[in-house]
Amino acid sequence: MRRLLLGAIIPVLLLGAWEISSRTGLLTLESLSRPSDILVAGYAALTDGSLLLATVQTCETALLGLMMAAVFGIVLGAVLGLLPTAERIAGPTIEALRPIPAIAFMPLALMVFGFGVGLEASIVAYACVWPILIVTIAAVRAIEGRLLEVAAVLELPVWKKMVKIVLPAAFARINVGLRVAAAISLVVAVTVEIVLNPRGLGYRLILAEQALEIGLMWAQLVWLCLLGYVLNLLLSRVGRGSAAIWRPL
C-alpha cells in the first residue's frame, strides 16, 4: 500500500500540472486536451457501452489470432525442437518468413478475408507465431535429456510423450514466448484497426481523432494502457500457476 502511494506521486503531480496549466492558458496545445475532459469523455464512452463493445471486438480478435499462433507455434515448435533434422529443413524458411512485417500482409489479407475478424486475426496470428515458435523450439531442446529417456524406456507413444513429458517440461519457457506474443497481439490488432479495419478500439481511436474529439481519443488511449497492463498481469499469473495446470497430466 505504501509502495503504491509512493509510486502514485509522480503521475498525480503530472496530471495536476497538466490540468492547471491548460486551464490557466499556459498550455494551448489542442492535441493535449485536459485530464478533466478526458475523464468526462471516458465516462460517457464507458456508460453508453461503445467503449466496452470496441474493447470486446479488439480483445476477441487479438485473442483469436493469439490462440491460432499458440497452437500452430507450440505444435510445430515441439516437433522441430525434438527432431533436429526437421529443424534444419524448416529453419531457413522460418528465418526468411520471420522478418516480413506482419502489417505488410494487410492488403493481401484484405483481398482474402475482406473487412472483419478474419483480416485482423490472420495478421495478428502471423505476427504472434514467431516468438512462440522460436521460444518453443529452444524450450524443447533445453528439456533434460533424462526425461526423454524415461519416456523412451516407458515406450510412450508420441502424443503421450508430448502431453505428459515435453509440454510440461518446456511450459515455463514457452510461457515467456506467449507473454511476448500477447503484447504483440494487442499492438497488431489495434494497428490493423487504425489503418484498415472498421471495428474495435483502434478504429474508434482514429475516428475520435478525425472528429476532433480529443478528450475521447485520450480516454481511449488510457483505456488501452489499462488493457495491456491487465493482460500482462493475467499472463504472469498463468505462468506462476503452471505447476497446478500440469498436475492432472
Binding site: 533424462r146 503452471s242 505447476a243 500440469w246 498436475r247
Partner: protein
C-alpha cells in the same frame, strides 16, 4: 575358507535358452573410439549380476546398450531370445541422477503413475497399485509431495517405485546409490535385494563400490582394459538373505574383495601406463 572358483573369463557355460539376457561379441564405438570390445555375458533369469570397473571403463555404456538407449556396432544382445533394438517397458533402468529422472511437476504419486499410464492401466486400478508400491518403498507419507521436497534417498526410492510399476523383467541400475550417504545406501541395498527376489527380476547392477557389488550380487563381473572387455567373472557364493553385518564379516566376502581389488588396481596402473 572356501577356495574361490575361477570361471572361464569370456563365456560362461550357460545355454542361451536358459539365460534372460545374452550378450555375445558386443562392440560399441563412439566415433573413432572403441568403448566396449568383445563383451560376452549371460544373465540367468532372476540372477543379480554386478558390474564393476574403474570410472570411464564403459560400464554405463554397456548398461545403456542393454536398455536400448545406445546402439551396438557389432555383436548380438538378446533378451528373452529377442534382439534388443530399442528401449522397452520390460527393461527398466534406474539412473544415478534421480533428480533429473523424475518429473518435477508431478507429485510422488504422479511420478509412479507415469509408468501405469504408459501401460494403459485403467485410472480406477492405479491408486491401489501405487499405494502398495509406495508402502513397500516407505513413501506412503510423501505421496502428495513433489520430488524437490524430498531428500536424495527418498527421490531415489521414487525412481525405484516408478521402475517397479513398469513391472519389468530386467532391472538395470546405474550406480543408483552412488550419490547417497552410507546409511541410506545400506537400507536401500537390502530393500532392492528383497524386491528383486520377491518378483524374481533379473538385475544388472553397476557400481564402482566393490563391497556393494559383492554384497548384492550372485556374480560380479569386472570390466577392464581399454577398450573395455570382461576381465573377470566371479560367482559370489555367500548365503542369502544377506545381512549387512554378518555377510560383510564373512571370510569369503573379504577374500572376494581382496581379489577384485587386485584386479582393479592392476587395471588402473595399466591404464595410467598408456596415458
Amino acid at each position: 575358507m572356501q577356495a574361490l572358483r575361477k570361471n572361464p573369463v569370456a563365456v560362461r557355460p550357460v545355454e542361451a535358452s536358459l539365460s534372460a539376457l545374452s550378450i555375445s561379441k558386443l562392440r560399441v564405438r563412439f566415433g573413432a573410439r572403441t568403448i566396449l570390445e568383445a563383451i560376452n555375458l549371460n544373465v540367468r533369469p532372476g540372477e543379480f549380476v554386478c558390474i564393476v570397473g574403474s570410472s570411464g571403463s564403459g560400464k554405463t555404456t554397456l548398461l545403456r546398450v542393454l536398455a536400448g538407449l545406445a546402439r551396438a556396432d557389432h555383436g548380438r544382445v538378446l533378451f528373452d531370445g529377442a534382439e534388443i533394438s530399442g528401449p522397452s517397458c520390460e527393461r527398466a533402468i534406474i539412473f544415478q541422477d534421480y533428480s533429473k529422472a523424475l518429473l518435477p511437476w508431478r507429485t510422488v504419486r504422479g511420478n509412479v503413475a507415469l509408468s501405469l499410464e504408459a501401460r494403459n492401466v485403467p485410472a480406477k486400478e492405479q491408486d491401489a497399485i501405487i499405494d502398495e508400491l509406495l508402502a513397500k518403498m516407505g513413501l506412503s507419507r510423501a505421496r502428495e509431495q513433489f520430488p524437490a521436497q524430498l531428500s536424495g534417498g527418498m527421490q531415489q526410492r521414487v525412481q525405484i517405485a516408478r521402475c517397479l510399476a513398469q513391472e519389468p523383467k530386467l532391472l538395470l541400475m546405474d550406480e543408483p546409490f552412488g550419490a547417497l550417504d552410507a546409511m541410506t545406501r545400506q537400507v536401500l541395498q537390502d530393500e532392492i535385494l528383497q524386491l528383486v527376489a520377491e518378483k524374481h527380476i533379473s538385475t544388472v547392477f553397476i557400481t564402482h563400490d566393490l563391497e556393494e557389488a559383492i554384497y548384492l550380487g550372485d556374480r560380479v563381473v569386472v570390466l577392464g582394459n581399454s577398450p573395455a572387455t570382461i576381465v573377470e567373472s566371479m560367482d559370489i557364493e555367500l548365503p542369502r538373505p544377506r545381512d549387512q553385518l554378518t555377510t560383510r564379516e564373512d571370510g569369503r566376502f573379504l577374500a572376494y574383495r581382496h581379489r577384485l581389488f587386485g584386479l582393479l588396481v592392476h587395471d588402473r596402473s595399466e591404464r595410467r601406463g598408456q596415458c
